[in-house]
């Protein structure tokens, strides 16, 4: 039986999905346009036996989330631009120490304080490269309220499976949008439990990877394991090491646990691409205008389709590469100065021309502008 449809905001769906995924700890600091996530967590978590804490700052929020996760509780924080910058150091700690958690970034416009209530996708590259040093990243980006609910569950599942922080890259368009959603029944959801192992021998191989696995099993604090976690390069026992062979092997494993599992991690939405000569690439809330434009273009007889990374990091390079032979042109549409554009250009590698329609003034790209750009690109191709 389908549940009753209700009007729900993207930020609210993020919380409800996270709770369905088993999130029982939230630490955060108020910041527009993500604040509704904190507010709803404060209201809802005690109802399900979970815990909400408003920390003194963004750095503390990220630290508390990592602490809670080491204690065995699925944990989340949410923020926006300036706060995302502040969280970066501890996100890197989570990457190195392999602590699962989910960081929601509801992007807003501009560097620094910018336009706090206006939409943007300007944190795309920061989601990949925000914390220092080579590190693994998984980032997912939803384009509707309905997808937000299901995708945040996937964010938790991937986080647990790969023992890594997952960035949930929302934008103001989806975060503040309300639409009718019918939430799936709990039995229709797949929820990854934390992979836990206890007492695997004399205390001390907590970062050893079992045969056939790509991450060590977790051992929550308070169970008698008595092991050590550090942000320094460490050996399989979890203790600091200056041995560059051991450090190098650790860093490589952290990257490869993602790189070798792209089939499992990467998801895209491809719409009417099979006969298309033009692909519009977009992600997140921008897809709303792109879908409208693609439908109008099709109605006008143009062979246009949409390529939408749902997993935005790692970038779905293989999926896009597979589409190149049929394409005459690609149009990248995003609410920034050209960030995913760089990834698309890298993959297209001058085999297919890549056009760009961006906006970074805090306003939203309407479907008419996309349609006009598509006509221009088609027209200039005919003129050649």
């Amino acid at each position: 039986m389908k549940s009753k449809r209700v009007l729900m905001q993207g930020n609210e769906a993020c919380v409800e999905g996270a709770i369905a995924a088993g999130m029982r700890f939230y630490a955060g600091y108020p910041i527009t346009p993500s604040t509704e996530i904190a507010e709803r967590c404060a209201l809802r978590l005690p109802e399900v036996g979970g815990r909400f804490i408003q920390m003194e700052d963004e750095l503390a929020s990220m630290a508390a989330v990592l602490g809670a996760s080491t204690a065995g509780v699925k944990a989340m924080t949410a923020t926006s631009g300036p706060g995302f910058s502040l969280k970066q150091e501890n996100i890197g700690y989570g990457c190195l120490a392999e602590i699962p958690c989910v960081i929601v970034d509801v992007q807003r416009s501009g560097p620094s304080t910018g336009l706090p209530t206006s939409p943007s996708q300007g944190d795309y590259m920061q989601a990949r490269w925000g914390t220092h040093g080579d590190h693994p990243v998984i980032a997912l980006s939803p384009s509707s309220v309905r997808e937000t609910y299901r995708l945040i569950i996937r964010a938790f599942n991937l986080s647990e499976k790969y023992r890594t922080p997952v960035i949930f890259l929302m934008d103001e368009i989806v975060g503040h949008m309300r639409e009718g959603v019918a939430l799936p029944a709990p039995r229709d959801l797949i929820i990854n439990k934390r992979h836990i192992s206890y007492h695997d021998g004399a205390n001390k191989q907590c970062y050893a990877v079992p045969e056939g696995e790509f991450v060590p099993a977790m051992k929550p604090f308070g169970q008698g394991e008595r092991y050590n976690i550090t942000g320094l390069a460490h050996d399989v026992s979890g203790f600091p090491t200056n041995n560059t062979d051991i450090a190098g092997a650790l860093y490589t494993r952290l990257m490869e646990k993602i790189d070798r599992n792209l089939d499992d991690i990467v998801r895209v939405e491809e719409y009417k691409l099979d006969d298309a000569d033009t692909a519009v690439v977009c992600f997140g809330g921008t897809a709303r205008a792109v879908m409208s434009a693609v439908l109008e273009a099709r109605a006008a007889g143009m062979k246009v389709g949409m390529f939408r990374p749902i997993t935005v990091w790692p970038f779905p390079a293989a999926h896009l590469r597979a589409r190149l032979p049929g394409l005459k042109r690609i149009l990248m549409v995003e609410h920034n100065y050209g960030q995913m554009l760089l990834e698309v250009q890298r993959v297209a590698a001058e085999r297919v021309p890549v056009g760009f329609l961006g906006r970074w003034d805090g306003t939203v790209i309407p479907p008419e502008d996309i349609l006009q750009k598509l006509r221009e690109m088609e027209g200039s191709a005919h003129a050649e």
């Binding site: 700890f25 929020s61 602490g67 080491t70 509780v73 604090f221 008595r226 050590n228 600091p240």
Partner: protein, 281 residues
Amino acid sequence: MPSELVHKFMRIDHLPHIWCAGCGNGIIMHDVAVALQELIDDPSVPISRDKTVIVSGIGCSSRAAGYLDFDSIHTTHGRAIAFATGIKFARPELEVIVLTGDGDCSAIGGNHLIHAARRNIGLTVVTFNNDIYGMTGGQYSPTTPTGDKATTAPYGNLDRPFDIAQLAAGAGATYTARGSAYHARETTELIKQGVLHKGFSLIDVYSVCPTYYGRKNGKGGAVEMLQWQKEHMVPAAAYYAMSEEARRDKVLVGVLSHTEHPEYTQQYTGLIERVRAQSGK
């Protein structure tokens, strides 16, 4: 030969420690270990080793977490109390001990210190207070006395120093105390009381850093610096027996403040029960 305590509560395969000869940090770590051993071995105290977590930040002090054989986490610079808040708030049944330094907890981590104190969350914070940034080679910290020299204060430090214990008390900590590397037995007792206290506890323990602080400031070596603590730091009974005049150049070793206020995670557990009773869940 390592003592029984070292065998039982320290990770001997990770010793010897990295601290310089003469550093006070080893004594303070020993005090923490003895305090925990006495509490764990006491059948009337409901503290178990497996439910005790040691959290540290970054700096000389923070290497202590790795030497103590408990669940331990060596976090990022300044954030030990924030990580510890996450652990304690997620699992209130855990005993969470934070080992930190003067720079880690009162400069880069000062905000977390005052807010954890304000919440009265049940953490026990032990500061290894050596008046200097040792790990990076002797820069002035928030507790370096005015006028003293450091590599970043070659002409003398202009800043006024923090009294970390008073700072925590002013922010709402319900148990604050001061110990010293010299006064090991007294300091161990103060740490035990801090762990037993329900609420936010901070024990500010004066360490000695002969390598970077003492040498630069004509304080002599480790022996002379510990001698200064012996002569100028006075346990409570003797301190309060002194005249005001005699106390003027003395520092109290003992409890500075001790009050009762509901502990934060317990309050939240009550909130959960209230909300669930109201919503019938």
